[in-house]
């Protein structure tokens, strides 16, 4: 295999740009990002301070692109970034960072720390320091088409089941429709009823839609591991399929990182604007709600609270859709403290949930304690969310802590109470 330190350093040299330079130059070392990071607040370990996680990137920046750093390098005063150092940082860059973006939000000088973590991962990945779990997810995505190894026949199976459940036809490879629906493998395996829910809602509201047999996977492990070349290949499948079918819109599923990948990173990876619009399923549902096309027959009466997925709300900008949609279907909504853009991550985003090492898993559970406190503060046992990855991670943690919390997906909840 061909990963090497030199490749890693070369890539870092390539990805360091003006924003990175200005971020490092303007950091005032205030430490506010530490207080914003769940891996720091739940462990009190200063190594989890977000800006510290970027130390190898800062070193490369300093040695290659600053006057003093170059002098130091020339005179042999500073040591080059080593393989051992990158290996030591792997835990900080992958296990303990979910790219939730809370640090970027609180930074008083406006440093986008996640933006830099994303760039540092580029160097970590090609120098062979990405965790094995994420490496395997990337391999499966490139080779099979899904990070979890889901193949088209498995999806066909889910389609059949949901067609039987809803008594509605689920269209495949239908050109010229309004919406190309994407799925995440987690939905195919864990929450197939999401597909049925969409079928019901679209049937009722008259939205024309289709699945594509060529591109059904919305998630992008290439972005999570930090290899743009692979991420581009993955996102190109969707773009090609959507262009071939000539759809107006591509619908990102409930998965948070999928939305980040297609909506925000996608056009940059492809280097051109898309001829179609990318919307998150909640954006589309809220549009239908505002048009009066999403009427409920009854309401869900159990008290619920809401978990806002980072990539959709804080980083994705879908700030205003979730609450009105939730209020549409539930009668007793109890917001949790630090909701909306201030929410705390489930602990498993950014590829972290695919890292299988016991230490990483234990750290995820530890980090979940902040979410646990939030749930407890809301005082209810039912939590609605709209990201399948959040949902799986939190269900595992709920079991781990033997909590009574039950998790629900917002789209399914809406479909279940939809007017007949």
């Amino acid at each position: 295999m061909s990963a090497s330190l030199q490749k890693g350093i070369d890539v870092l040299k390539e990805v360091i740009d003006a924003p990175v330079a200005s971020f490092f130059a303007s950091c005032v070392h205030c430490g506010l990002c530490a207080e914003a990071c769940l891996f720091y607040t739940e462990t009190d370990d200063p190594k989890y301070t977000p800006i510290h996680k970027l130390e190898p990137l800062r070193r490369v920046y300093s040695r290659e692109y600053t006057l003093l750093g170059r002098l130091g390098k020339m005179l042999g005063l500073s040591k080059p970034v080593s393989d051992d150092e990158l290996e030591a940082w792997s835990e900080l860059v992958y296990d303990s960072c979910t790219m939730c973006g809370r640090c970027s939000l609180v930074c008083p000088v406006g440093n986008d720390i996640v933006y830099m973590v994303r760039k540092l991962r580029e160097g970590m990945a090609v120098s062979g320091h990405a965790p094995q779990g994420i490496q395997e997810a990337v391999k499966r995505t490139i080779e099979i088409g899904s990070p979890m190894g889901v193949k088209w026949p498995a999806i066909q199976h889910v389609i059949k089941d949901q067609e039987a459940e809803t008594e509605l036809k689920i269209p495949i490879d239908q050109p010229g429709v309004d919406v190309l629906v994407l799925m995440s493998s987690m939905e195919v395996i864990n929450y197939p009823e999401y597909l049925g829910a969409l079928a019901k809602i679209f049937h009722k509201s008259g939205v024309t839609w289709t699945l594509s047999s060529e591109a059904s996977e919305a998630t992008n492990a290439g972005i999570q591991i930090g290899v743009s070349d692979l991420a581009r290949e993955i996102v190109a499948r969707i773009v090609n399929a959507a262009e071939k079918l000539g759809v107006k819109r591509v619908l990102s599923p409930e998965c948070g990182h999928a939305y980040m990948a297609i909506r925000w990173e996608g056009p940059n990876l492809m280097g051109r604007p898309f001829p179609f619009e990318v919307v998150h399923v909640l954006e589309l549902l809220d549009e239908l709600r505002r048009a009066g096309k999403l009427k409920m027959k009854d309401q869900f009466t159990t008290p619920v609270t809401l978990h806002d997925p980072c990539q959709i709300v804080r980083r994705g900008g879908v700030l205003d859709a979730p609450e009105p949609l939730l209020r549409q279907v539930v009668s007793d909504y109890r917001p949790m403290p630090d909701g909306n853009k201030w929410n705390w991550c489930c602990g498993g985003g950014g590829g972290a949930s695919s890292i299988q090492e016991p230490a990483a898993e234990a750290l995820r559970f530890k980090a979940f304690q902040v979410k646990k406190r939030q749930i407890e503060a809301s005082g209810v046992n039912t939590m609605v969310t709209f990201c399948s990855n959040c949902r799986i991670v939190m269900e595992e943690a709920v079991d781990h802590y033997e909590m009574k919390t039950q998790l629900l997906g917002l789209t399914e909840l809406l479909a279940a109470h939809l007017e007949d």
Binding site: A3, K7, D10, E64, Y65, Q135, E143, I225, V227, L230
Partner: protein, 361 residues
């Protein structure tokens, strides 16, 4: 010297009226920043005060402090009140000499043990066993240690006694130190200045006689009432400083118009003393009024604190410097940015698309 009668009696004998005495007390109260009502209290206390025994030891000094006190003011009340203490030993002022003089010192030390006030001017040499200054065959160090034992309090008069002063100036050949470097177990008041203002000396004495205690001191052991503010803060030329009007030479238009002497080396901003308010020579003036900057003589190590005519800090000729810096900065910036661009585009050109193989070593 044996007469330890009350101050009022002594003043009457000297022909000082009660009215003059009260005026002095009011002046002292205001100098020490005490409330107006305390003037009466000072008068009452002083009138009844017994003359305390005072032993004055002079070490490595120039007698300027004594001069300041006795000559410049004589025969004003300040010097008279000084006369009203029982000065049992003072080299310069005493009539006695030789064994008789030393005897009067040891007698006073015995009789008033634990009660006498010890005044010291001059620094104490410590190098080579202190042999650089001796009196009656004994070193200053020895004399000070002996006299300090029975003292109620010590007043270090002048910058030499307070901080080491000129004898301590670089290279300090005699190993001169301040009183407070030697005596650690007695209250010490530092009345610094080269020389100190006479009214400050009498003010501290009046306070001691009136209240029996020491005044509030700053971090250098100086009475806050007199050393609480800088010369600069109370200087009558301060408005010119605020307006940025500075004399550039001692005979330019600025100097003639009385502008700020900062650029000519005035140490007023860093010097704590009462010169600008109390003034010298019976309230006539102080150095800055005579057109010369403050030397900073009441501060430690003033002799070694750069030249007397060197400004504390100088703004660089602003425009020239800023332009030069901007041009140099821009040039370096452009150079670095060109180099960085080249490096980044080279890295881009060398980019080989990453494959799955690149994820593992």
């Amino acid at each position: 010297m044996a007469d330890h009668g009350t101050l009022e009696q002594r003043l009457a004998q000297q022909g000082i009226s009660r009215r003059a005495f009260l005026k002095f007390c009011t002046a002292m109260a205001s100098l020490m920043a005490l409330p107006p009502g305390s003037a009466a209290a000072i008068a009452a206390a002083l009138a009844k005060a017994k003359r305390p025994s005072v032993i004055w030891l002079s070490f490595q000094e120039c007698t300027g402090c004594t001069e300041s006190l006795t000559r410049s003011h004589a025969p004003t009340l300040e010097s008279l009140i000084f006369d009203m203490i029982s000065l049992d030993y003072h080299h310069t002022l005493q009539a006695a000499s030789g064994f008789a003089a030393e005897k009067s010192r040891t007698d006073a030390m015995q009789e008033f043990y634990g009660k006498y006030l010890l005044i010291v001017d001059g620094s104490i040499p410590t190098k080579d066993g202190g042999i650089y200054s001796t009196i009656a065959g004994r070193t200053n160090l020895d004399l000070l240690q002996e006299a300090a034992k029975g003292a109620a309090a010590i007043i270090a008069i002048g910058t030499c006694a307070s901080f080491g002063g000129i004898p301590k100036a670089n290279p300090n050949p005699t190993g001169a130190v301040a009183v407070s470097d030697i005596v650690k177990d007695k209250p010490i008041i530092n009345i610094s200045g080269c020389p100190p203002i006479p009214a400050v000396i009498t003010g501290v004495l009046a306070q001691y006689l009136t209240f029996g205690g020491l005044p509030e001191l700053d971090h250098l052991g100086r009475p806050k009432a007199f050393y609480g503010e800088t010369i600069h803060d109370r200087c009558y030329r301060r408005p010119f400083y605020d307006q940025g009007k500075f004399a550039k030479t001692f005979d330019d238009a600025g100097a003639r118009n009385g502008w700020c002497l900062f650029e000519l080396g005035c140490k007023g901003p860093t010097t704590h003393n009462a010169c600008a308010t109390t003034k010298w020579n019976g309230g006539t003036s102080f150095p800055i009024e005579s057109g010369h900057g403050c030397l900073g003589c009441s501060e430690p190590d003033f002799w070694d604190a750069g030249g007397f005519y060197q400004a504390l800090s100088m703004p660089a000729t602003p425009l020239t410097f800023a332009t030069g810096a901007a041009v140099a900065g821009a040039a370096i910036g452009i150079g670095v940015s060109l180099a960085n661009r080249a490096k980044k585009s080279a890295a881009k050109k060398a980019h080989q698309a990453a494959t799955l193989d690149d994820l593992e070593k």
